[in-house]
Amino acid sequence: MWQFFHKLGSPKWFFGISTRFMPWLLAGGVILLMAGVVWGLAFAPEDYLQGNSYRIIFIHVPTAFMAQSVYIMMASAALVTLVWRMKLADVFVKAVAPVGLVLTFLALFTGAVWGKPTWGTWWIWDARLTSMLILMFLYGGVIALDRAINDEKSAARAVAVLVLVGVVNIPIIKYSVEWWNTLHQPATFKLTEKPSMPAEMWVPLLLSVLGLYLIFGWLACVRMQTEILSREQRTRWVREFVMKGRV
């Protein structure tokens, strides 16, 4: 186990292994996401109350779910950076922060588009929407802080501390709809109960969440590889790799 952990710390090893996984991640992700979204948008039954406008859930929920998942992954990597000083963990944080930012923006945007016809407003300062906006600012802060510090090692530590501080926001987002009165409805999916929607609605939703997870995995690999190449550009393996023209 520890040997695997140390191997994972080697950028060169990661570069090789991720190249093998990436086509599968991309293919699986595209297939699942397409299946989920097409099924959800075109074939799932409409809702008794909201009619067809609820269908944006098939985009809103996957992006919102991933936005928080990515942050939790980033926070785990930040812990590894602070305690074990593993280079690859820091590469991961830097590679996925912009992806998380875009996902959070999409979640907020699709939420606003959904809110207008159902609630009657684009935006309201309730606990769920506000904590999600804070998540977007946290992603932005992580990117900005990283760009602001030139030295790679101090940037890595400062960013890791910021990411870990921000992880407090995640349970707030999750439980905001239970702890406080909000306009946003409570969660449809709970770990302990069966979902409060029929299978012909939650199955396509689950497919698109899984698909987005795989696509995120692929995107994270692509961005990490780019970051590794630029950091290790002076090493021999990168030079050999580039000379072979296999980029």
Binding site: W179, W180, T188
Partner: protein, 157 residues
């Protein structure tokens, strides 16, 4: 684990625990400000301030919606199945507004205990179902003698 790493891990975990406690205490102290709306029980208990712009939320009580035939004025009661507050609103209601549906209204509480709203937003719950299922559920509940559809149970607002 290497002692230095163990030490670092302890420090990080302590910082996180301290931070969580600080945030938990802050949000607990500010809970009344974080709550989006007052519910009818709080309003009838006098917890909501008079003549200040606040939000009130709850379910539209069945059979209380009265529309003025000459204007856009609507009067209805919001309830949390415990207390009920009359709401007065002039304007266009959202599409989802219906008896038994959740709403959040923004406005002022006047001294007669009536809530004069200038904005009404619809709130929906976390349950989704095809129209046929909703119809079947409603029929079933009518046969049992209750007129409330399954979607409008108190727990879901």
């Amino acid at each position: 684990m290497h002692p230095i790493r163990k030490k670092r891990l302890t420090i990080v975990l302590f910082l996180l625990a301290g931070l969580s406690i600080a945030v938990a205490l802050t949000t607990y102290a500010l809970r009344q400000n974080i709550n989006l709306f007052y519910d009818p029980t709080q309003i009838s208990a006098g917890e909501a301030p008079m003549d200040v712009r606040i939000r009130a939320g709850g379910m539209v009580e069945a059979g209380t919606v009265v529309r003025d035939p000459d204007s856009l004025k609507v009067v209805f009661h919001v309830t949390d199945y415990n207390a009920s507050v009359p709401v007065e609103y002039v304007g266009i209601l959202p599409d989802l507004f219906a008896e038994g549906q959740g709403i959040v209204a923004m406005g002022r509480l006047n001294n007669e205990g009536r809530f004069v709203a200038d904005q009404v937003l619809a709130k929906h719950d976390e349950n989704y179902m095809p129209p046929e299922v909703a119809d079947a559920l409603e029929k079933a509940s009518k046969n049992e003698g209750s007129s409330m559809p399954a979607s409008a149970q108190p727990a879901s607002y």
